[in-house]
Symmetry: C2
Subunit: 194 residues, 2 copies
DNA sequence: TAACTAAAAATGAACGTTCATTCTTTTTTT
DNA sequence: AAAAAAAGAATGAACGTTCATTTTTAGTTA
């Protein structure tokens, strides 16, 4: 195993603990001491890896966001048809939100509170470009409604966050056929009606 | 002006200050002392109206949620057609989220964090029944897809929260034609394709 | 109406706790 | 043996909450 100056394992453990504790207790009830304890590290050690608590949360956000978009676009290729490309990306995102539920929950919490500072938020948005390009192509081909990317995202992608959260809270159980139904609803909402 | 034992004005000022401060700074950066200051009240006075900070936030959540659903259904009548009823409710909700943006933002934050305890969350859901009944009717009439209420809500209603938040963050400007487009996307996502 | 009074409401200051962060020392690495 | 990394204990500030006191209210008496 390669050795960096500071242990990457320790950093990862800190990020992991942050996600878990913030998910379960919220930012306001997640003291540095608990993060340190869960990561099996002294509180002082956190400050070797991160400037302060805000920096720890910002960096965690950016990393999880990057992981999310990497997963979403991992198997996508630009020469796919708009419909195939969208279905592929959509299902990868659904997959991520269900399998990496903890990480997706963390993102949802960050995206809906003033927990993250503005620069980190902007940094996190950048990585969605392939999806926006795909929609651009879809609009040109007359397959996708000529709407702003925000509206397309709101209807095609964001509903998955709501479903993930209600599922996590135990309100109902998502299964494979729900995923297919949700995909159909997503596509119906943004596709041009012939 | 009628006089209650304890001043209802003071209570309202506290609730209002809570919404404003939690919206701008998050729960974790909203100390009771600031809430008291903004409401022009002593910190000790808060505890005459609320048990503690958690109780203050819970009660605020329930009140805002009730205000939201009251507004949503205020002009709805059960003898309306499914399509008309849905459009009416949808547009009332859109209206609320844009006009009472602060209140809607507060709800979004509560709904996406562990800020609120479970009983208050359940209390908040109750009031949506008229919409669920409408969908039930729509399914019977073959107008609305036979999907779970959670999925219908995720696609028909929840996207408005995303749009509201991005608009509030200044990412883009929502206008009347966006609202119409969004309504169409909402209906397209849940209506049965003939 | 005016004075009085007991209870309720409101307050500013204080309390004990917890927090993020730093300091000093020890351990590990090279 | 020097430098880097990690640790536990310490620190000062900030927090939620309570305490002791003052102010306001509402009812009663004159």
């Amino acid at each position: 195993m390669a050795k960096l100056q500071k242990s990457i394992d320790k950093r990862n453990a800190l990020v992991k603990a942050t996600i878990e504790l913030v998910n379960n207790n919220g930012f306001h009830a997640t003291p540095m001491s608990k993060i340190a304890k869960m990561a099996k590290v002294s509180p002082a050690t956190i400050y070797l890896y991160f400037e302060n608590k805000q920096d720890l949360v910002n960096q965690t956000y950016i990393e999880v966001k990057a992981e999310y978009t990497n997963y979403a676009f991992a198997t996508y290729e630009e020469n796919m048809s708009v419909e195939d490309g969208f279905e592929l990306i959509w299902k990868r995102i659904a997959d991520f939100k269900l399998k990496e539920c903890e990480h997706a929950m963390f993102l949802a919490q960050c995206d809906n509170t003033p927990m993250i500072d503005e620069p980190s938020r902007i940094e996190g948005i950048k990585h969605l470009q392939p999806l926006l390009d795909l929609w651009q192509r879809g609009k040109k081909e007359g397959l996708v409604k000529p709407l702003s990317d925000f509206i397309l995202y709101a209807y095609a992608i964001n509903p998955l966050s709501f479903l993930m959260i209600t599922q996590k809270r135990g309100a109902f159980q998502l299964n494979e056929s729900h995923i297919q139904e949700a995909y159909q609803a997503a596509w119906d909402s943004i596709k041009v009606n012939k």
